[in-house]
């Protein structure tokens, strides 16, 4: 059906991509490849983060093999010192600094404990930085620092994340549900995102819910929602709340809520950085539960990577993405179509 060849390398460039957890960058520079470009991340004098092309313009040594000195990055080969804007500010052995002694720098922001890098040539758009109202708020417990390296193009990851139907089979050991009744049915397309959700009213609480709270013999209203802010932010919410209430934020907070975020950053056309964090409004101080929860999520994402990386290999082998379409493809297909539109728009703008 669909060919893979023509968009293998198609990335949206004017976007904030999660590059690292802030705590990954300490006193040593960090090498990370994003959209096929190699970056060196390092701490600046002001306590922020700098992001430079990971290649000294002199002999091409990776700057990430150098040292963080005085808020700059010093090449480990001949000692050229660069500041966070990519200017060379010292060349050992000579006073004159050539105008060619410079490297590309990338705009950097910190948010949600993550370092975000703007990869495009357009002006960085602050409004596009992801925000999570509950992040850091009282009443919410945070699992963070989640990271996996996935061996698949980010489109395969998007299909996976917009597709709850697979949990019954791929994740039957973890979050799978034989009934698969939680599949959202309403799908909405917005300017840069796709969302799908479903409310099941007056339904028995799940065994998992019962484990977290005593609902007695009562029923709950249960919601599952999936959304994807393209090209990289996946958000899944599950909420079980007392029946008969309006579906407001405040009322939802009376129930059990979990907010699961994944931030996808293409490393190159075959690999994806998979950052994740998880918020919940219950069992806040239950450490044993939290360890079990983290292990379960990690296992689930490992299962996703196993199938995604196998699909990556098959797509490259046969040059196709699929040979038959199903009803469950509805949301993933909408997401990829919107992505294609966004990429085409960006490229049209760049040419104009």
């Amino acid at each position: 059906m669909t060919e893979i060849a023509d968009y293998k390398q198609a990335f949206i460039r004017n976007n904030w991509y999660a590059a690292a957890w802030r705590r990954e960058i300490d006193t040593r520079p960090l090498a990370r490849t994003i959209l096929g470009e190699r970056l060196a991340l390092f701490p600046t004098k002001e306590g922020g983060i700098g992001a430079l092309k990971d290649q000294c313009p002199h002999r091409l040594a990776p700057l990430s093999m150098g040292e963080c000195i005085d808020g700059g990055l010093r090449c480990g080969y001949h000692g050229l010192l660069f500041n966070a804007s990519g200017a060379c500010i010292n060349v050992p052995g000579q006073d004159f600094i050539p105008t060619t002694a410079k490297v590309k720098s990338y705009p950097v922001r910190e948010r949600l404990g993550l370092v975000w890098v703007w990869m495009g040539d357009a002006e960085p758009d602050e409004s596009r930085l992801p925000s999570i109202p509950q992040h850091g708020e009282p009443g919410w417990a945070l699992l963070q620092d989640g990271y996996q390296h996935h061996a698949a193009n980010y489109r395969i990851e998007i299909e996976n994340l917009m597709d709850p139907a697979h949990t019954t089979y791929l994740h039957k050991q973890t979050i799978g549900n034989p009934a698969a009744k939680d599949v959202p049915v309403q799908v909405e397309r917005n300017e840069r995102s796709i969302s799908a959700f479903r409310w099941m009213e007056r339904t028995p609480p799940s065994p998992f819910d019962k484990q977290s709270r005593d609902f007695g013999d009562g029923l709950v209203d249960r919601m599952v929602s999936f959304s994807f802010e393209l090209p990289g932010v996946s958000f899944v919410e599950v909420c079980s709340m007392p029946t008969g209430l309006d579906k407001t934020e405040d009322n939802k907070n009376l129930g059990l809520r979990t907010l699961s975020y994944k931030f996808l950053t293409p490393e190159d056309e075959r690999h994806t950085h998979f950052f994740w964090l998880h918020l919940r409004n219950h069992r806040l101080d239950d450490t044993a539960y939290e360890q079990q929860l983290r292990a379960g999520l990690e296992k689930t994402y490992v299962e996703d990577n196993q199938v995604a990386s196998a699909i990556q290999i098959e797509q490259e082998r046969c040059g196709k993405r699929q040979f038959t379409g199903l009803k469950i493809d509805h949301a993933p297909t909408m997401a990829l179509r919107l992505l294609d539109t966004m990429i085409a728009d960006e490229q049209a703008t760049a040419v104009a």
Copy 2:
């Protein structure tokens, strides 16, 4: 001399290839690549074996990552269920099964403890399944389940197996014989096979023969025969029998006989599945001897793989197969010429 480029990928397709030992396929599907095609093998409801292309038509997940359910194969990603003829018989989440929801299936037979797969488009030819009259018969001991993965094109393996002259040098630690007197001299070409043999009459029994039977001070008539049913079945027989008798099957059974079979299945143009079994009519219940025999055969085939895989690399490096021809090339050359003829015939038929 001969170029390698033009037939690197030339396989005979209308043929039964050994795909697996039957006992390799239990409750889990088995992935195996044959002629560059990836197959998933699995047990069917009737106790047989199904062979499907190892790729779900939906998202291309390998079916071998799925489960054997109800005699079918269920994709591990979204649960599509396929039967042994490749038809999709269930799609979770919808009642309608798209006509495109199907995969290629391969004819399968079981024989000699092995699973055989027909890789061509022509009607499977039952008469081409290999048979061994002594297999399973009383008076014969069987070594089976032999398997090695060899890193060479199957043509290099054919040359090796039709060439007893190398045993003196390559296998000097195992079956090598400094005198190399056992080399067959008569070579015959048949429709799909090459055979070569030699009888040495009234010759002293080998030390190995003496170890297996007390010949007194007497002499034996000794035969070595090599044959190759193209493209994949190698058969080597060694027989030491009392002198002066007619060379009938019954009389040969009075002596020491070993029948050594190898079944070659190209995995791709650079790798070959090497299945083997071994029959003998002596020391039937000698377990210690049998262990030693198996270890010796395994070591011999490892030596073959070492040189074959080195040759594979050299052939690819220089684009040639050889620069000088020798007398010992007679049988291997006949075998490869016959193979070329068979491939050309098959391709001419396919076009016609």
Copy 3:
């Protein structure tokens, strides 16, 4: 700046390349790739070394998988025996030796404990074999058998070896000197070599010098010289001698001298054999010091390989060698230009 594509594979062929330490070749043949050609080295009947193309002309088995027999090399597959001039002198199973049964042989010399191979088609030029007057002389201690496999084109290695400026940064744990005052300033170009040196008169001895000899509170005259005989011999000398003397060999021997040699042999366009030896005229019998010295040199060369192999990858990735030039590039640039001239001369001669 400079493109890498056009000279990636440009080697000087008419040259003696270090192929192995003599003691690497004992009773087994040694496989080594030089300028992309695979050689088998083996001991001859006369106690010398033979060098043949590592490929039997019959089935292409590597001769290095064979055996050293009677001063020749016997193929491990079918037993063809070759002498050191590449002629086949025995074919098992036949009396006639085909004229095509031969392999290319390479001229070989032994010097400085190393085996040298002439890779070109021109007559071997004995005068080009490297010589070291102090090698084997009384009063000098020798560290030899040094070898590392470096994952970079030899040009990157040449730049590294002609560039003392990097020691301050790359080797700050070992031989680095924060002041970098030892950088030579005078650079000379000769017919096939580049040399650079600097005398610092009446300077305090280094801590390292003081460790080796008690200079009291006195001063020394200190010299550092670098030279490179293209394409493969690097020589670095450091000398600290009493002040006020003429700079003759005899007077230099009154001081502390170290002579450091590296012999580069391109394995292929991405890898370099890095042989090294080291001579000193002090602490001749100090075993503990010698062990420490060897370990320090090995670590330094490992650091060189780390940056060189990273640069190799970057050069291939972007197709360039550098984007800005510095003063410290003077000597390396002269060396590579001379190398280009030599390669062009050799190729012009070959065509003519």
